[in-house]
Symmetry: D5
Subunit: 96 residues, 10 copies
């Protein structure tokens, strides 16, 4: 089941640089784990902002919530979740 | 080069049903042509609305503008365009 | 899987009264069918507006989309969909 | 008498972790007390956010105000209150 | 139980003048009936707009909904409803 | 001359509790003085928020500005001022 | 007593040109009458829009409401009213 | 003196096609006259919308207002005007 | 050339009182200098807010920018600038 | 390929003045390098705000993202990016 999640990251000025680096590394590791599992289907940077547009493929709403709220950078992120579904015109298997 | 385009379709109540059907068929044909060409990379329905989220892969801004403004349903659509780029964490070739 | 859907209904001034009555009766019949099936879990009127707040329990996003977009009053409605999930504090079976 | 209350929780970065844990435990205890009493009729998490959608059944506006403003996490919450009432189509006793 | 209701009236250009006059007279008669009953506690014009701010004293949410949605000008009005309650500092009986 | 003023109060987390108590007591005293004088005609709490809706009866705009900006809690409040006037349908002397 | 009123004029496409010309002439005559009386203290065009910013000097709120709502173009205008008062720093008699 | 003007064009569905073509030709001719005169310094299409971003170099505000409000497509356009000035870092004569 | 500038002032809670007093005195002195020069044509307080509406008469955009950004309270102000011009109906020399 | 980027700069009150001066000098140096390269095609100040409107000419979206997010003042800026393309009416080579 697919969802678009738009994430804006805002780490405050003056936040400890080492802690930020540690959190970003943990975020990246977690992202790659979820990407490898096929759960975090797509991610793209939004030009000019510390933000991304992502597509998730999850079993249900609860799985998405658990996944998003345990991301290492979650406390620094604003998220906008949009439920998606397959478009009837698409001939593309991957757009399920 | 990737762009997210969010399209809302609004065909007025009372619009001629045959003309609407003709335009939708033309839109679908054009979509599938662009999908086959790899230009209209992804399309998903937004749940509960006559709307979609799409990812386009185009040569440049002008190509995207020409493509979008000649869609058969363009006069009925509101579009929001967001420039995207590859995310450094992605190991997924398709997210270029 | 639960979703909140906020629906605003706007039937234009001067719309044919018989057709409106027919659509409202069809909407009510469809609602009661879905309520009996346990799919349309809750519905409440919003005070002072021709609008409701509803809770749906569906198999997946596509099921919700199909259900909402085939409602008899869908062409007259604006919808806002919010994905929900069980709250960890709840001891109430029905809030799954 | 029913009300929908949408609550967003925002505990600032750097807020004392023990105090936050204490407040959350107190909030949960108070919630369960009100749930058992039938006052806090429903609660659902909003996917991807530290937020909930709740339905309250109270004697009057003043009872709701007293209840909401004495929640342990009230100083950290933004609330949106919407007055609801029974929908005429509903055959469901619980949607009073 | 008190509610503030902000009402904006928008009668379209070209709407039949006699029908508009008839509806306004019916609205005024209904208002005065509710004012005499103590239900429509206060009404004030908003300067420069065809709009009012009103205070209602009703038994419950359902009574307010029935009252508002059967006003003769309801199909031409946009309403914003805010639940109010007595302020602890007030020594004024009428602000209950 | 009547004005509606909607006041939201926001005292920051961590603000000195004694100072806050002192300011609230001063605010209450000032309110009651103005209520007794007939200047602060009405005040109601907004359910679920630290906010009120008030009706002022003042000689002119300058009197209202001086009154509002010297309230003890003014530095913590956001205000929205709306000019009102008597509604022609009202038979209620107090709605002048 | 001073008020700023921001007025946007929107005469629909296809509105009868003679009637529009007649209304504009009536609006201009009324404006000049009020300008000569010192009531419509200032008027300026907003660059690039069919809109103006005006300053009114009126006896009270009711006088402003009566004046604005009887303007010949009132049915075509959206108005935003802001209560003003003398600035303590001003040495300019006209800014009362 | 420089201004940015963002123009959105909205020609209603069903507007006479010949008249629209005539207005667009007149708009283009007027644009090119003003471009040749150095007044309409820049124009760019906004991707995916019937809209443009333009830079004007005019003698004063009144000249800009006269120019904009006499454009053949003005009745179909929404404009947002932003006053600009030379940036101190620029070494580019044309950015005056 | 005329501009409306709407200024909101926000001096943070806890900002040094002496420094604030010094900045306000400097702001007032600068204002009176510009008022005497005819540049700061009008200023009015906005009722209930630490804000003003001002009319400036300047040689060009750059002069306005330099003037506004060097005001002593500029770092504490949010500004909204609107380009104005003479209204054709005005018989008032001062509204140039 | 052209993009409009609107940048608002917000350096917090109390930020170290030397560090701010250093960052601004670095920003200016970087700007002039990009201006000389023809990448940062235009920049204009927005009157009354610490903000600019800029036009960039870049190879692709990724080049723009890298450029914007490595600006020395990036952590202090809010950016709005709009994809542009050549307007068909323009006879001006520079508006490509």
């Amino acid at each position: 089941m697919l969802f678009m999640v738009e994430m804006d990251v805002n780490i405050p000025l003056g936040f400890d640089a080492d802690e930020a680096a540690r959190l970003k590394a943990a975020e990246k590791a977690r992202f790659q784990e979820l990407q490898a599992a096929g759960t975090w289907r797509h991610i793209w940077r939004v030009v000019g902002r510390y933000a991304n547009v992502s597509i998730f493929d999850v079993a249900d709403n609860a799985a998405l919530h658990d996944l998003l709220t345990t991301l290492p950078l979650f406390p620094f992120m604003t998220m906008r979740v949009t439920a998606l579904c397959r478009h009837p015109s698409s001939a593309h298997d991957d757009d399920r």
